[in-house]
């Protein structure tokens, strides 16, 4: 239990509705909404009526990372007028992200540590920030997190194998879990506690039976993952020691389409490119855009040589980055939170559980077994 939690709080569904309407008036609220095709995406909302509620979806098709690391962002503007003048662009909007799932919160913690150089990390407060990324940090620092714990894993979910869900233990502001029409409210930060005390009339203290009920829900959710899992440890060890036979990457390279979709939907993938765009002969912008190690041009150097020109080397690189112990040590966790989006997205069926299982069994698995069945229709 988080050290900020004096008690478990409860909020009635209707009151949560009203509380959110208050928030919408005072800050940008980003929440899961239903897109025109029926898929759930995170989007700034104008009314709480637009929200897709926790029991209506497993997870969004895209992680909310774009609100912290936009697909394209302007880092600064330059203008020439008897010398260059450079104006940085920061996004200091006060925001709340509502309905984010535990896997995605864990991915944000990963990114905080990576871009913050340790400064936002509660697990390593003594770490000196090294080249902190102010563009990321400023967005992140002004965003309040209300997470939804997961009762029911989606068919591609494996957060349980990645220590990233289905509930958060720390590193959130508030965590809500629906319980018979009400929501149990766990407090994970000082500013989370401030929200409770600032809006106390919306909340009540949970009864002891409700406290027990939440524990039961959490235990049930874990059980719903079944016993088929993505066993990471063997893959981590073999990748770290360079013991994965290259034939695995060669076989996977035969079917990889180089599309970079895995990186774009991955909540922890954050490689980027820096691109200038001139607006006229005196001014322009410097932008940062998402990039992917899956692309052949990613390692192009001056003169045109491409250092990882072989697709198998690029696949190997991506999974080395996600799973090698050296990176785990650097980032304090491996680079997967088990959200399952690579499974959903990859047209060639190359994804984390498949690679892990292939390494474990030392043969290329054609299609990973579905880890979780729906136990209840949604």
């Amino acid at each position: 239990m988080s050290r900020y939690q004096e008690h478990l709080w409860m909020i009635n569904g209707r009151d949560l509705f009203d509380l959110m309407e208050v928030f919408i008036k005072t800050r940008e609220v980003i929440a899961p909404v239903r897109g025109h095709g029926g898929e759930v995406i995170f989007y700034p909302i104008e009314s709480i009526e637009d929200v897709a509620w926790d029991w209506q979806y497993f997870n969004s098709v895209l992680p909310p990372k774009r609100f912290f690391l936009p697909q394209t962002e302007i880092m600064y503007e330059y203008r020439y007028d008897n010398g260059y003048k450079i104006t940085p662009r920061y996004d200091d909007r006060v925001r709340m992200i509502f309905g984010i799932r535990p896997c995605d919160v864990n991915a944000l913690i990963f990114l905080d540590r990576f871009f913050g150089g340790g400064s936002l990390s509660k697990k390593s407060p003594d770490e000196e920030p090294l080249f902190p990324d102010s563009h990321y940090i400023r967005r992140r620092a002004n965003t309040f997190i209300i997470a939804f714990g997961c009762h029911q894993p989606g068919e591609n979910c494996f957060c349980v194998c990645c220590d990233a869900g289905p509930f958060l233990e720390e590193d959130y502001d508030l965590q809500l879990t629906s319980m018979n029409g009400d929501y149990a409210v766990e407090v994970g930060s000082a500013r989370g506690l401030k929200i409770i005390y600032g809006n106390e009339h919306f909340f009540r203290k949970a009864s002891s039976s409700e406290v027990d009920e939440l524990s039961r829900i959490k235990e049930d959710a874990l059980n719903k993952f079944g016993d088929t899992c993505s066993y990471m440890s063997k893959a981590i060890r073999r990748i770290t020691e360079g013991k994965v036979d290259d034939s695995l990457w060669e076989k996977l390279a035969e079917r990889c389409l180089d599309c970079g979709g895995c990186s774009y939907v991955c909540p922890t993938c954050c490689c980027y490119n820096i691109v200038d765009i001139s607006l006229d002969d005196k001014s322009g912008i410097r932008t940062r855009t998402w990039d992917s190690c899956a692309f052949s041009g990613f390692t192009r150097i001056a003169g045109g040589e491409i250092l990882r020109s072989d697709k198998k080397d690029r696949l190997k690189r991506r999974f080395f980055h996600k799973l090698s112990y050296q990176y785990i040590e650097k980032n304090k966790r491996h680079g997967c939170v088990g959200c399952g989006r690579c499974i959903t997205t990859c047209l060639a069926d190359i994804n984390m559980p498949l690679v892990v299982e292939s390494i474990r069994k030392q043969k290329v698995i054609v299609q990973a077994t579905k880890r979780v069945r729906h136990e209840a229709e949604i």
Binding site: Y78, F131, C270, Y272, I274, R286, D291, K330
Partner: protein, 273 residues
């Protein structure tokens, strides 16, 4: 909090043509305080911005022992380097950095130094060579071996004389292919090894050049008795950020922009792609 992506403005003071496609730019920061407080190590690099075109990592070729300016030698090979080549003195560019680890300096005090350069690879070595020569008494014998494809591709020619006239310095130059006027050595840079009296005892070798050159040089150095720790080289990657974030320069778990670009042969051998 300092924005690590924010470039400071530098002004081009002068431009020197080294070869048909290499120019050396002498620059200084527009803000005198920034220039005054500039501190860097030989082997470090700057991210150079040509606004509207982009940014490129360029090793610093001037020595930190000479103040008031800095120099970048750039080969015209791409978009940003091409744009820089088209510039004239008093033009403004953006500079971020210095980044990277730089060459070991304190660690090699008192030792004999062997520099092996190829083509534009002499640019980062030149920073260390001049740094060492400016502090000549702190080091033992110095050998500089340099090769390029043709006599027209030799960079920093004006300085060769200055270097070889320093006490206890051997300087040998070779080209792959000579021309009518060339009377010097012909052959790849490794053909200079037997001509120079190279001792492996108490010597550290610094190797910079095109990727095709490096393995041959290292092989010969190992045959001469150098060890994995006494061979120092640099790796080339297109570092987009310089601060260990963008991912472009990663090899294994190393970021060339932060952990490098200078690595010992021992470190390079341990790298997995």
């Amino acid at each position: 909090m300092k924005d690590v992506y924010f470039p400071d403005i530098a002004v081009i003071d002068s431009i020197r043509n080294e070869t048909g496609d290499v120019k050396t730019f002498t620059m200084r920061f527009k803000d005198p305080d920034i220039q005054e407080n500039l501190s860097y190590r030989s082997g470090q690099f700057f991210e150079v911005s040509i606004f509207g075109v982009g940014e490129m990592p360029i090793s610093i070729t001037s020595t930190p022992s000479r103040k008031g300016f800095f120099e970048l030698s750039v080969k015209n090979v791409g978009l940003v380097s091409g744009a820089l080549h088209s510039m004239t003195p008093s033009t403004e560019v953006g500079i971020r950095g210095p980044f990277g680890n730089g060459f070991p300096y304190e660690e090699v005090l008192g030792k004999e130094l062997l520099f092996v350069g190829g083509g534009i690879g002499l640019a980062p070595l030149r920073s260390l060579i001049n740094n060492v020569l400016d502090n000549r008494d702190d080091f033992a014998r110095i050998t500089i071996l340099y090769g390029s494809r043709t006599p027209g591709d030799l960079v920093f020619k004006d300085e060769f004389k200055i270097w070889e006239n320093q006490p206890d310095v051997t300087m040998l130059v070779t080209v792959d292919r000579g021309d009518e006027e060339w009377t010097g050595n012909v052959g790849v840079v490794t053909t200079l090894f037997p001509k120079a009296d190279i001792e492996n005892e108490n010597t550290v070798a610094f190797v910079c050049g095109p990727p095709v050159m490096i393995p041959f040089v290292i092989k010969d150095l190992l045959n001469l008795g150098f060890t994995d720790d006494t061979i120092i080289s640099t790796l080339e990657r297109h570092m987009k950020c310089g601060v260990g974030k963008c991912g472009h320069c990663c090899i294994g778990h190393k970021y060339v922009c932060m952990d490098g670009p200078v690595f010992s042969y021992r470190e390079m051998k341990a790298m997995t792609e």
